[in-house]
């Protein structure tokens, strides 16, 4: 089962040019499922980097614009897209010139996986 999910995630990773990593973590940044390219920077997959999102999404939900769904961070060489699917967090790491809209459209394709993973996270 987990192998099938991993395979599916790997296929999605190959679908978008210059997408380096898809990472599904829990609130604490603990990886649950990941598909990684060799070129992905190690730093972007560390829990202390990933947990920052949980805090940022909580804070940005207080801006009076409703609940925060997605945060896109553009850096000089990379872009990091994180989606609020609490208790899970969806993380994408890509090069700065990667098609952001295409990455965002992967959300619908990953959604079916999240249902089962959410159950596992809540149980534990």
């Amino acid at each position: 089962m987990a192998e099938d999910m991993k395979k599916y995630l790997k296929q999605l990773l190959l679908r978008v040019d210059n997408l380096l990593c898809i990472l599904i973590t829990d609130r604490d940044g603990v990886p649950i499922l990941k598909a990684v390219n060799d070129k992905c920077p190690e730093l972007a997959m560390r829990p202390n980097f990933l947990t920052t999102f949980a805090m940022a999404t909580d804070q940005s939900s207080k801006l009076g614009q409703g609940r925060n769904k997605t945060i896109i961070c553009m850096y000089s060489s990379y872009q990091v897209i994180q989606m609020n699917k609490l208790p899970l967090i969806l993380n994408f790491v890509a090069t700065a010139d990667c098609n952001t809209g295409h990455i965002l459209s992967l959300e619908n394709l990953i959604e079916p996986l999240l249902g089962e993973l959410k159950g596992a996270v809540i149980e534990s």
Binding site: N99, T100, G101, H102, L104, S105
Partner: protein
């Protein structure tokens, strides 16, 4: 800025057979949408335009036509934006 984009998309949609249009930037993010078109299609449209442009790098931006029995989708990339126009294959005259 948005107004000129919206006006342009509205003009496009008022043409014969056109049912919707989407404008996306280089990053595949949606700049505007009108009619029967989805905001979430902007990324895929840009990706298609990028991939097709690689077929003949020396040529200028191609016009891509995706067609099914009832509808057509025309995609073209300009300098910094990509536009997709959705139209019926057989417009009622």
């Amino acid at each position: 800025m948005e107004k000129s984009i919206e006006r342009c998309l509205s003009e496009t949609c008022s043409m014969d057979g056109v049912i919707g249009s989407v404008l996306a930037d280089q990053q595949g993010l949606c700049l505007g949408v009108k009619g029967k078109a989805s905001i979430s299609s902007s990324g895929v449209i840009t990706a298609i335009a990028d991939q097709v442009a690689k077929l003949e790098p020396a040529s200028k931006n191609p016009i891509i036509v995706l067609e099914n029995d009832t509808n057509q989708c025309l995609i073209q990339r300009a300098d910094r934006a990509t536009v997709a126009i959705f139209k019926t294959s057989n417009p009622v005259n």
